[in-house]
Subunit: 452 residues, 2 copies
């Protein structure tokens, strides 16, 4: 259903709220001739084109063929270019009735208002100069954020901080480029060209490095971490699982498998979405169902980014657990559980806890956060990026600058050096959308949700 490159002049519509029964649903429409298309479909005390823009008013959506009233709605007319898309747009607050919404969308369709593709409203906003690409990406990042920290970082990006930072870096490079261009224009001049300002270029590289360094952290907040609970049957995995869910107040979701399968839940830890899997107990068994459970446990542990190995302090650190720990040491935290019930000393590097009474939980939490943030240094950049697209373009820009510096040292001809700078500038321009291809745009906007 991709119609890329989107036709920018089509009248489009979409349900901007989820497809589920609710109090209110929003239908958005946009297009240069949207008012004309809605004639005979939307009826109110006076025609829509005489409404004050941005005024929310009362009316009915009717089927122009049968004159049947499809819904009683509140409508707002946004007059382009003062609208989200930059075009004339209308938003209807309808009743959140699924058959009602379907009936309205069908009437819209019959009037030549087609269903919008994912991201098409924001695409129009971009094309019509309402926002650059980094802001457009932020729109979707806000919506899909899974923790308030991720949402807050994306909101910051929506305000244009990436755009400003990229423009500042470009300014540094453009100054350089001017010197280079001068050298190019007067290659045989007796006058020496002004020396290239290496400081400026080093500063540009530094600022790019800072943005790049923020990527890992940004991604962490956006995508989160998977954590598997492993351990023998009765070691207290499920109690620990429940304790984590209880202590981390914001449980995002909970999926129950069968008892022999696994449980999955998502909680927020320090702003990071943490997907936790409570696996089947580690033990040798001839029961085929349990063997299947073991196989899945192995798969979950292999795929998890972090593992909590829960050991029963009353039983001790058994050989099979030691083997497990050795195998997954890089990503495993050892939990010495049930210290409420016995005094047996914890092995080195283990954290003594009681899943029963919560003893040791803050330490465990800190250990988890330390592991999660181990490879992601604190951010010095004014912005945190989490878009792979932006990251790759920053790397391209950085590479061009470094090659320029290298060429400068090797006293390469200015026309070659100039190419490196142009490459950098192009990459930076692609980040904000100043330079763009329709392939790139398709890739980007197709990941959006419908109605944005």
């Amino acid at each position: 259903m991709s119609q890329f490159p989107y036709d920018k002049e089509d009248a489009i519509c979409a349900l901007a709220t989820p497809w589920a029964q609710s109090a209110i649903a929003i239908l958005r429409c946009s297009g240069p001739d949207i008012l004309e298309k809605l004639q005979g479909v939307f009826k109110s005390s006076k025609p829509l084109d005489s409404w004050t823009p941005n005024h929310m008013g009362y009316g009915h959506i009717i089927n122009p063929k049968t004159q049947e009233v499809l819904d009683e709605v509140m409508a707002v007319y946004f007059k382009g270019p003062k609208s989200y898309t930059g075009q004339d747009s209308v938003e209807f607050n309808c009743h959140g009735s699924l058959p009602g919404i379907e009936a309205i969308l069908e009437v819209f369709h019959n009037r030549g208002i087609r269903r919008a593709s994912p991201g098409e409203f924001t695409f129009r906003a971009f094309i019509n100069g309402k926002m650059d690409l980094t802001r457009a990406e932020a729109v979707q990042e806000i919506v899909s954020a899974r923790t308030s920290q991720a949402q807050s970082l994306a909101l910051n990006r929506l305000s244009g901080v990436i755009f400003q930072e990229i423009e500042a870096i470009k300014d540094l490079i453009l100054t350089l480029n001017a010197s280079v261009a001068l050298a190019l224009d007067y290659p045989d001049d007796e006058v020496e060209p002004p020396p290239v300002d290496e400081k400026a270029i080093n500063q540009a590289v530094l600022r790019i490095d800072q943005m790049l360094a923020s990527y890992k952290r940004g991604k962490l907040f956006q995508e989160g971490v998977t954590l598997a609970l492993a351990g023998r049957t009765n070691a207290g995995k499920s109690s620990l699982f429940n304790l984590i869910l209880k202590e981390e107040r914001s449980i995002v979701s909970q999926i129950h498998g069968t008892t022999r399968d696994y449980l999955e839940s998502t909680v927020t830890l320090g702003g990071i979405p943490l997907r936790i899997f409570d696996t089947a107990g580690l033990r040798n068994s001839q029961d085929p169902v349990e063997q299947e459970g073991m196989r899945r446990t192995g798969e979950i542990v292999d795929n998890a980014q972090l593992v909590l190995l829960v050991v029963d302090a009353q039983v001790g650190f058994l050989q099979e657990e030691q083997d497990f720990y050795k195998k997954y040491k890089e990503k495993t935290i050892l939990c010495w559980n049930k210290v409420d019930a016995c005094d047996s000393p914890a092995p080195k590097a283990a954290i003594a806890i009681s899943a029963l009474n919560g003893h040791g939980f803050p330490l465990l939490e800190q250990a988890l956060l330390d592991r999660i943030f181990k490879d992601t240094p604190p951010v010095e950049s004014p912005v945190v990026i989490d878009s792979q697209r932006q990251k790759e373009l920053l790397e391209t820009a950085r590479f061009g600058l470094l090659r320029f510096l290298e060429g400068l040292n090797q006293q390469l001809p200015m026309d070659i050096l100039s190419e490196d700078l142009r490459e950098s500038l192009n990459a930076l321009g692609e980040i904000t959308g100043e330079v763009s291809s329709s392939d790139l745009l398709e890739l980007m906007f197709s990941r959006f949700c419908v109605g944005k």
Copy 2:
């Protein structure tokens, strides 16, 4: 979490769109002091209380403690009484980000704006005279309608047709009541009281009867019918199931059980939501899993309102099928399937079909509709009701009128007759909410969705 009777002066808020990631989410707030409560929470170029009512404008929701921006939003201020609730209200179109919505609701909570109970916005609309109870009920009926016909009937009710009909019936009774009151006031007068107009009362009864007659049909559109597909393994149940889903374009939902279990789907047939269950094949088996499947099939067939018994024409009408048909004859349609592959004549009352090529499907569809509408006569009433509450009150009103007529024939004293009329009027007044108790209101509004 019931807080009934709702405090009408509290500031309340609710997510009026579904709790799921989406382009836009609506947060509604209402309360006499809502503008004050939102001070420091909503920031825009000028304070909300100086906004033109019903104007949609741009701003930010911020955490007043940390000054952190929680979201960029579009807001509308509805000045009471010209609002849905009749009170000052504000609606925010936020980004449909779940952690973002949570963060905003928490800030609202800290400012003393509590989460609304189900139906609380509509309850305020009722209390503040913005709509009568029948319209309030229609609001929820629109939202929960499962077919466009049901939604359209509810929309009609929202326009006030029930209210008008009830008022008209009350007028008929009130005229009578005047004669009765006259007789009561001057019992010993020499002048004969004007004769009671029996025509008027018969007309009131007739109009109540018509509304009552519409209830079955209204309920049918709202609640739909369950249909089980039964038959031996390989009789073509699954093909017929798929054919129905293909022919009835609007598939509402589809739930897959395991192969031994059953499949469930909802389609719309003549405006009626039809829940179809494809059951396990009828056959005797020693396999415990299959036996369990049989047991469930029996349960589904017992609970279904209609059954399609699918018989393989190539095999013939076997004894076990005849037994089944005899047992469930009242609600079963016999389908003589696979007529594309053989000529064996169909038993009496069977419908010859081919689930493979669609032969006979229109006939089957008509047979289904005939069965569905068998006990529900076409509606003569100007309105179709589907509220059990309204139906019961209409029955009470009707009963009062009939007893009045009976008493009139028996020449009972006027003060007794007068009681019957009062009872009728009270019941009718309860329908529109002119007469109401807090128990009734709690029961009614607690069935609403949050945000309405």
